[in-house]
């Protein structure tokens, strides 16, 4: 009975396949276009498979200052990520473990910070980075990236640490470990799976971030990959395959991140969703 093929099942299967096509078609379009010559697109139609493996688009992009944008993105994301993981695990320790008077209200402030729309901070931060003389440098982006990803990270890590059994700490305390020793020797190492979730989730977010990068940077020496698409658009406005090449190159790292940490990414998104 379980494997009976019914009309309903066939209809469901067809709808499911249509959804796959809808989800994947733009990617197909993006990737095959990137292997086409500018005018091939017009003559053969957009659905056609490329005539040959045309790699000149990739060559042109890699030979431009693509690596500069790539470096900026990598730099901003990795520095911010280290700061986020450090500060978030520092904060998660007292929130999940220590009893003190203002624990709950302070945690509530962190949770409330998750709901703040970034747009309300754009103008003040634009001014702040100018008065600190870091406007239009990669340093301008690190502060906002850390600040806006930290509340959710603290939130995820606090619930992660709360699930770590307390016995180990008690043993450490009897052995004369202070609060700092307990954190660095026991809780921090035990939080590695939680930190890995945060690392992947936050990297994807920051890699794709646009608004701060648009407002706080201006020239190619400090712009990150999402903004580079813009620059190429200006340069190759009529050359669609070229733009598709840039898009494909920008998406590759995220697809790799997804393959490595599919479960972790989803877990981070779920925890991020709970904040609503």
């Amino acid at each position: 009975m379980k494997n009976k093929i019914t009309v309903t099942k066939i209809i469901i299967a067809i709808i499911a396949l249509i959804c796959v096509v809808v989800a994947a078609a733009p990617f197909y379009f993006m990737i095959i276009s990137s292997f086409k010559e500018q005018f091939e697109l017009l003559t053969t139609g957009i659905f056609a498979f490329p005539k040959g493996l045309f790699l000149d688009n990739y060559k042109a992009i890699v030979e431009s200052n693509f690596y500069k944008y790539l470096f900026n993105s990598l730099f901003v994301v990795s520095v911010s990520l280290v700061l986020i993981l450090m500060t978030a695990s520092f904060a998660a320790y007292p929130f999940s473990r220590l009893k003190f008077k203002y624990n709950k209200p302070l945690f509530a402030i962190v949770v409330a910070a998750m709901a703040v729309p970034i747009h309300v901070t754009l103008i003040p931060l634009f001014q702040l980075t100018q008065s600190l003389h870091i406007y239009d440098t990669v340093w301008a982006l690190i502060g906002p990236y850390v600040a806006f990803n930290i509340p959710i990270s603290v939130f995820i890590l606090t619930s992660f640490m709360a699930d770590i059994p307390k016995e180990l700490e008690e043993a450490a305390e009897i052995d004369g470990c202070g609060k700092f020793g307990t954190f660095f020797k026991i809780l921090f190492p035990l939080s590695k799976p939680g930190l890995a979730t945060l690392a992947i989730y936050n990297s994807v977010n920051m890699w794709n971030e646009f608004s701060f990068a648009l407002v706080l940077t201006q020239t190619e020496r400090s712009r990150t990959l999402p903004l580079s698409i813009w620059e190429y658009q200006g340069q190759y406005s009529a050359n669609m395959p070229m733009i598709m090449t840039v898009l494909t190159l920008c998406a590759i790292p995220m697809i790799i991140a997804f393959i490595i940490g599919q479960d972790k990414l989803v877990k981070g998104m779920m925890a991020g969703a709970v904040k609503g």
């Binding site: 957009i46 747009h119 407002v215 733009i243 995220m254």
Partner: protein, 300 residues
């Protein structure tokens, strides 16, 4: 007695010291990059300033009065609301349907799960550019499909004041439906399997199980999904900025794009800060009201 007392005291002092040291970095970041800017935005909204002069001109609530009568702002706000309503009506049901499918299919449908998830991995900017070409009247994807059926008709979808907003909503749904799918899927798979078995033994069909048992149990999940998509819709910026910059003639203008234009293109920093502050108030108010309203319904 005295010794234990002072020991407890010193332990307490240690705890407070440790908590303070560990919490300082987080609150430093929150204070500098989140709390200070909120207040600064509000105070800037009381000034007229072009971002260059050293002196700001204090004008009291002048900007706020202008905002109240600003037709473009209210048009933008109503566009945000249109996106909000359509997002909830389209993304949540499709997301739920796909989640149920994947939940029933289990591991066999892993390929589908990965495919459905793909749109989540791209940045909004990339998606915006990609769909700009998808909608392109000359060599876009959509035109190609129309051409298959209808000779040489060329439709400039993003250039049409009536169609552009729906075209943008379609892309937003394409981008975010997978998120709700994953979200509901997590909810569905957290339901204990015994409940499903019990329902089937009691003679329920799969459909009945979903509507009468699973859905009511996922009420909390659905509620937070609604709040999320509500708040998300009020904040949209990247995608629309890339695709239309709010055009043609304001038909896809949103609060965030209007704010950006005022502050960073017309250099009306004071007015931009007013729009940003208004957004902050609107988003906070709407999300608080929704959460409160939904909780009240619960109690009845």
């Amino acid at each position: 007695m005295n010794v234990t007392h002072s020991l407890a005291k010193s332990r307490k002092r240690q705890t407070i010291f440790a908590a303070t040291v560990f919490l300082i970095p987080v609150f430093l970041f929150i204070a500098v990059y989140i709390v200070y800017p909120i207040f600064d935005s509000f105070s800037l909204s009381l000034n007229s300033w072009n971002g260059i002069d050293s002196a700001k001109k204090f004008i009291g609530f002048g900007n706020w009065i202008t905002l109240m009568g600003d037709k473009v702002f209210w048009k933008a706000f109503s566009n945000n609301i249109i996106i909000m309503i359509l997002s909830i009506l389209i993304q949540l049901p499709i997301g739920m349907a796909l989640a149920v499918l994947l939940d029933v299919g289990g591991r066999k449908l892993n390929f589908f799960k990965v495919m459905y998830f793909m749109p989540m991995l791209m940045s909004s900017v990339a998606i915006g550019f990609l769909f700009k070409y998808v909608y392109d009247p000359q060599f876009g994807f959509i035109s190609a499909i129309i051409k298959l059926f209808n000779g040489s008709a060329m439709v400039d979808i993003l250039g049409s004041t009536t169609l552009a907003i729906f075209a943008v909503v379609a892309v937003i749904c394409w981008q975010f439906t997978p998120f709700y799918m994953v979200y509901f899927l997590a909810g569905l798979s957290s339901l204990p399997p015994e409940i499903y078995e019990a329902a089937i033994i009691d003679g329920a069909t799969r459909g009945k199980y979903f509507w009468r048992v699973a859905l009511p149990m996922l009420k909390g999940t659905v509620k937070s999904a609604i709040v999320l998509s509500l708040v998300g819709a009020l904040k949209y910026f990247d995608l629309i900025w890339v695709m239309t910059e709010g055009g043609p003639s304001g038909s896809t203008e949103l609060m965030a794009t209007y704010m950006y234009k005022n502050a960073f293109q017309s250099m009306k920093m004071g007015y931009g800060a007013t729009i940003a502050s208004a957004m902050f108030i609107i988003i906070t108010a709407i999300s608080l009201l929704t959460i409160k309203g939904m909780n009240r319904k619960e109690e009845e």
